[in-house]
Symmetry: C2
Subunit: 185 residues, 2 copies
Amino acid sequence: MAQDDCGLSESLEDYLEVILALEKANKVARAKDIADKMGVLRGSVSGALKTLSEKGLVNYAPYSFITLTPGGMKVAREVTRRHRVIRDFLERALQLSPERAEANACRMEHAMDKPSVDRLARFIDYINRCPRTGPDWINAFVNYYQADGPDARRCEQCLRQCQSEFPDRLAALSGRSDDDAGEGG
Amino acid sequence: MAQDDCGLSESLEDYLEVILALEKANKVARAKDIADKMGVLRGSVSGALKTLSEKGLVNYAPYSFITLTPGGMKVAREVTRRHRVIRDFLERALQLSPERAEANACRMEHAMDKPSVDRLARFIDYINRCPRTGPDWINAFVNYYQADGPDARRCEQCLRQCQSEFPDRLAALSGRSDDDAGEGG
DNA sequence: GTCGAAAGTTATGTACTCCAAACAAAATTT
DNA sequence: AAATTTTGTTTGGAGTACATAACTTTCGAC
């Protein structure tokens, strides 16, 4: 949909994603499991498998097991990764509930192209690894969105705490885990 | 699509968004302008307008001007806001090109529900207003995603700079623009 | 007012996705 | 091995969205 996958519809992307998950769990995918997992009837699955088979993305013959072709595997992995990156952002950075994060990721995965998702993944990395932010900064976000704006007193305390950790954080960047930076007060 | 708008399709959301933009620019929307702006033929617009009219979202009679009803205006504003928030995030935080940000926002606006977009808007606020981050932190992201990981030397310099600005930043939180916090040094 | 271009509308057809239910094959049970 | 259940397939119909093309209305030029 997003200029990747050579014009695969959202629906077909979903089928590939589900087939990959079932392959990982059960070695092969069965039409009924696909239908159950996607909330559609078995009849709908048959049609989708026929289409995916014509596109060379699944190995499929009537009444046989279903597996992904190498090409289908590639697409399925891409879609699954998009899903995972987006859900992580929604759940960890935006701190949405797991259910809401999942529901939104399911739709957003078809709306974001690969460069955007790649950049988002880097952004999450950046937040986690930059000494100015990190997990504690993310956790403090809850104080912000629950209030009308920043709380000066809380911010002051947060800044002091963060500042005291700067040497450690900087040291951690280089791979050193101990606090041997020698600059902390 | 995303449980808002009482089950309005992506396409119809797009129509409302475009009609709102044309209303703002030209007082009223005309079918041809809608068609041009959306890249569809005039015939397709007639059908959509009929549907939107039945749903009570546009004032529409054949061969007449087109305006949004109060209900349609509400939905159109919501969709437009979703679009703007998402595009801002993609363009300013992720630092995607304006074109890519716009293209992705066009699709993502239909995939994200209101609570998620609201949270995203707060997140952007948080980045901009938190003394630990702010615009300079966003700008430093480019150094991160262009490299394989963090650059310890650059990080050290960034931390020092940031630290020196803490008093000012804290003061700015309370609305004071001068550095009279008296704690820096 | 009449003519003609521009704008709008109404079929008709295609593509996609899904459901519903009838039907066929496979696997289990006995 | 026959009957039953489960699983898979096929067919027909619905809803959405759009293109194409023929037709109608509107509006400005004359």
